[in-house]
Amino acid sequence: MAGAPPFPQPSGLQAWLLSAEPNSRWQARLGRGYLGWRSFTKNPLAVLGLAIVILLVLVAAFADFIAPYSPIVGGDLRTERLLPPSETYWLGTDDQARDIFSRIIYGSRITLFVVILVSIIATPVGLLVGTVSGYLGGWVDTVLMRITDIFLAFPRLVLALAFVAALGPGIENAVIAIAITSWPPYARIARAETLMIRNSDFIAAVKLQGASTPRIIMGHVVPLCVSSLIVRVTLDMAGIILTAAGLGFLGLGAQPPMPEWGAMVATGRNYLIDQWWVAAMPGIAIFVVSLGFNLLGDGLRDVLDPKAAK
């Protein structure tokens, strides 16, 4: 190394983690993670994003303890309906005289559920289609990309709507519908990435060891595409939440009285001008969570995506 040592002298655990000569797989992995974590924590916005996401998880986990009222059962329609924010109802009440704060708290569960489910459905599908198509090339690529194109060219709403219509409304089906409409861009990204990777020497090297194609794709290509996909997916989270909201809006997403944020905003649309809080509060919640995921995604990009971190 030229010049001064790049790090201040580390000590204890830190030294163990940063050791240039790890003694085990675990130490190597943890050390790598720690380095990533360090560069991640140097970015205050990314940390803020992570904090928001963790907060979301905590709120979802402890909703029962946090929420002061039931998210489902409302108060007296005559006296407690559409009340503005006050000391009793921090964020006001909605058209069914329910406490908006409590609904938002419980809604975090649904939001989390949607976000997680979509990412664990859409990401692997996109990843698989993209890597297989990019790696194999030829007619497999042509066929898979044509299919991807068709799905891309589909009006998203039509597809999602039709899908939900076929399976019946409900949040799970809405999630599947969103996942189905969101994988094509992931496939594209994964394919582009694969095309870059597939001619690299380290892939040629495993080929020369006699590795089978599935082995190369799963063990060597996929791990390299995952990070840029993770980044992209976190950046897409806001869009996913809003699409779920959009479906909720058309009555195809979460079923009333589920406190799904998008559906809450949709209901609030009727009171937008005079009872602004009904739509605004869940809207702010969506915004904050999207912001969190976006910041997190940006931060992750710097850590995971070597191209962007210059």
Binding site: A2, G3, A4, P5, P6, F7, P8
Partner: protein
């Protein structure tokens, strides 16, 4: 050498990174007249950063300090942006390693040369064009008018590098920094390019800083050589005396190369002494 063209004293380049501070160049000093100065050293020894710091092109997180950094009596550290810009390309130029990356892929070679010329000389399009063609001819381009309208990807590495030289010399600079100008080229082609550079120096009286890691080449091409190690100049000597270098580092570098002449086996390797870096 009454008044040096370039006067560098205690040049330092630091990069403040998240992981700490990297000192890429640590107190380099030298003076340059109208001569060929070679800078050699291993990868990462700070050769390029020295060259870039002179041009004021140290990339963003970098910080440059120097006791003195003067070109032809102009203090480069205090000079205004405007002055720097006029100097850059006008009086100091740089040829970079790989024409594949350092030529703008979406502009024709002619456009790029004209642009360089017009940035410093008031000239009509036609004048600039003539000048660019003349320059392409000067670098021994065989069909200048054709090359003029080609895009960088349409020419070979050697042609690209010559175009790059033409672009950087079109304003008749007093100082040229060549940062490994031939390492991306084939041996035969690189000789061609070097010959052109050599002619330009001898004919125009230009100062040349030639950065390379190839000692054999530097010793045969330059007048004087700086040997760098870990951001420092460990030795400065006349090129022809390179074989008689004093510093063990320089000696080691010279010896570990296989040659056609004799067959040493095993090749001597370099045993790095931590003291060299101090």
């Amino acid at each position: 050498m009454t008044k040096p063209l370039l006067d560098v004293e205690d040049l330092r380049v630091r990069f403040h990174l998240r992981t700490g501070t990297v000192e890429a160049v640590r107190g380099v000093s030298f003076q340059l007249g109208r001569e060929r100065l070679g800078i050699v050293g291993e990868s990462g020894s700070g050769k390029s950063q020295t060259g870039r710091a002179i041009l004021g092109l140290t990339p963003p997180p970098g910080e440059v300090t120097a006791k003195r950094l003067a070109f032809d009596g102009i203090d480069l550290q205090k000079a205004s942006k405007r002055t720097l810009r006029d100097l850059r390309g006008g009086r100091i130029s740089m040829v970079m390693q790989d024409p594949k990356y350092s030529l703008n892929p979406v502009m024709t070679i002619g456009e790029q040369i004209i642009e360089a010329y017009q940035a410093h000389r008031k000239a009509s399009k036609a004048e600039a064009r003539d000048r660019a063609l003349a320059m392409l001819e000067a670098v021994k381009m065989r069909d200048p008018t054709r090359v003029f309208s080609l895009y960088p990807h349409e020419v070979s590495g050697g042609m690209g590098q010559r175009a790059m030289i033409a672009m950087m010399l079109v304003t008749d600079p007093d100082l040229l920094i060549a940062d490994e100008p031939t390492s991306a080229l084939d041996v035969t082609v690189s000789m061609e390019v070097l010959r052109i550079l050599d002619e330009l120096v001898t004919e125009r009286g230009m100062g040349l800083i030639f950065i390379s890691h190839d000692l054999k080449l530097v010793s045969s091409f330059c007048d004087r050589v700086l040997v760098m190690y870990a951001g420092r100049v460990v030795e400065e000597l006349e090129a022809k005396n390179l074989r008689d270098a004093q510093h063990p580092y320089t000696q080691g570098l010279m010896r570990c190369l296989p040659t056609l002449a004799d067959d040493v086996r095993p090749l001597p390797t370099l045993n790095r002494d931590p003291a060299w870096a101090l």
